[in-house]
């Protein structure tokens, strides 16, 4: 391991060593409390009765665990369907971005057609535009696509297609492609390989890390989005899990809402814990290269 702010040697010596271990112990305890504590509170809180939740001071362990809250949450909120929807939208967004954004980044980086820079500029300009600013006209657009007069409301395309317009991911991909030496490309083209083939058999295999990063970004963006799916996926059968919980929170007992929140969070948390090594290394190494 390379040297960081404090040298390795310093941490091995008497006082440095003591301070290091003390600090580590404090940080580990604090982080566990701060980041796992609330999750524990959530899982057990959902087991408490309405009366127990309102109790002062709050109890650390539920007195008579009401597992029924979880059952109620699952059935009443139709969580299975909501979770499926969310994963479906996220997977589609990943696919659309991988295909269309990679193609675009490739064109901008290697094929460089006329006006390519203008297009890149126009794309990057949208980085400055917060999503909220465009929410109303975007919504109007989705209600009735210009020229085609098609409504995308309640159609997954209303989520998939706008996610393709992601200048940040295109920029990431382009930067990565830029870093691939021109000679490799030139050699392939001299060989008569079509641009598509070059992309497929030369560029893409080299770009796995960045594709992983873009996929994670695409996935979390859909996972975390709220207002957009709230507007364009209004039907109970097409809602995402966040929107679904919100829609039902107003008329559902608190502990059931929290039970639903736990169930909604469980799949991604579990997936994350299983794949955390890959995700973490992907995000920390791939994201900033190039």
């Amino acid at each position: 391991m390379s040297r960081t702010l404090i040298s390795h040697a310093q941490l091995q010596r008497g006082r440095g060593r003591a301070v290091y271990w003390a600090l580590l112990a404090v940080v580990v305890t604090a982080f566990t409390l701060v980041f796992l504590g609330p999750l524990y509170w959530m899982v057990t809180g959902a087991l408490k009765s309405g009366r127990e939740i309102a109790q002062i001071p709050p109890t650390l362990f539920p007195r008579d665990p009401e597992f029924g809250n979880y059952v109620d949450a699952w059935t009443q909120l139709n969580l299975g369907k909501l979770l499926f929807n969310t994963f479906y939208y996220a997977a589609g967004a990943v696919l659309f971005q991988l295909v269309l954004d990679t193609a675009a980044a490739y064109a901008l980086s290697k094929l460089r057609p006329v006006l390519g820079n203008v297009i890149l500029g126009a794309m990057l300009a949208t980085l400055m535009i917060p999503a909220m600013v465009l929410i109303v006209p975007q919504y109007q657009t989705v209600i009735s696509l210009p020229l085609l007069d098609i409504s995308l409301i309640d159609s997954p395309f209303a989520i998939w297609l706008p996610t393709v317009a992601n200048a940040f991911n295109i920029f990431l991909l382009k930067r990565f492609f830029d870093s691939i030496p021109e000679e490799i490309m030139a050699a392939a083209l001299m060989d008569g390989a079509s641009p598509l083939r070059t992309l497929r058999s030369i560029l893409l295999p080299m770009s796995r890390p960045i594709l992983g990063v873009v996929s994670i970004f695409a996935m979390t963006a859909v996972w975390k989005d709220f207002l957009w799916p709230l507007l364009v996926m209004p039907h109970p059968q097409t809602r995402t899990v966040s929107v679904g919980i919100y829609a039902f929170a107003g008329g559902t007992p608190q502990n059931v809402v929290v039970a639903a929140s736990v169930i909604a969070a469980a799949p991604t948390v579990v997936l994350f814990l299983i794949f955390q090594r890959n995700i973490m290394s992907g995000l920390t190494t791939g994201g900033l290269k190039g």
Binding site: G45, I56, P57, L108, G116, V133, L161, V164, Y246, M280
Partner: protein, 313 residues
Amino acid sequence: MATITAPAPARRTAHPRPATTRRRRKIQDNLTGHAFLIGAVGCFALFMWYPMIRGVVMSFQHSRRGVTSWVGWDNYIRIVNDPSFWTAWRNTFHFTGLALVLGFVLPFVVAILLNEFRHAKGYLRVLVYLPVMLPPASALYLFKYYAYDPSEAGLFNALLRAAHLPTSEWMQSPTMTMPAMVIASTWMNMGGAVLIYLAALQNIPGDLYEAAELDGAGLVKRIWHVTIPQTRLILALLAMTQIVATMQLFIEPLILANGAGTQDSATSVAYLIYQHGFFQNDLNGAAALGVIMLVVLGAFSAVYLRLSTRQDR
């Protein structure tokens, strides 16, 4: 779409071509390039560029019962005269400012700390990133119902009470609304920033620290003269995206404060857009507010970029 993965027949074109063929070839290449671009460009056109224009157009119109008419600056006048307008901006800036202190500085400190640890690093990194994996509504209902309960049945108040500190009504107190939202928002989102900082920190060459130490630089000086300059680009970039993101504060007031909070203490500009558009059935007014937000953030971005590039020289 399947074309991208379909096998491409390769042909050898070894012979030199005449000039006309070369020109054709060039056109051909351009066409190919644009063919690769068309999907993304189409999406940008449809969902970014066109809505921008449409938003501006809408902000000067009024639609009712299927009839649309031009109304000049009426929408803007109405929006700016809404007593919540300035409150919303004040709240939004307040949130952005607090979020910068907490959500921008804290992850950096955490990243520096984590980067120094030789043990439990993986565990800590996972912990910090864990909340990012929750659906935002999940995390916010957790805070709303369990942490911010105004009575002492709430987790935070129980802890404060146990520590003999004054308790708070959290979302019900106009002064605590913003800090409470920032705390929840930072807890939910800081994992991403920590990971990015960690990556940046790992890219700092170790001999820079070595040299600084040999020069007699202490811990603080090393951070100031090595760590920060070395990560300045990332810091600047994240500060920018963080500000733009926090200016769009929406789901926190919607869920934690049931919308406006107490006496508009939680109303953000983004929430005001939603309120005008969907509570008051005034999409044109909402579009006008969107344009105002665009101008403000655009001006901010321009100034910010100018400043940060000037420092580079």
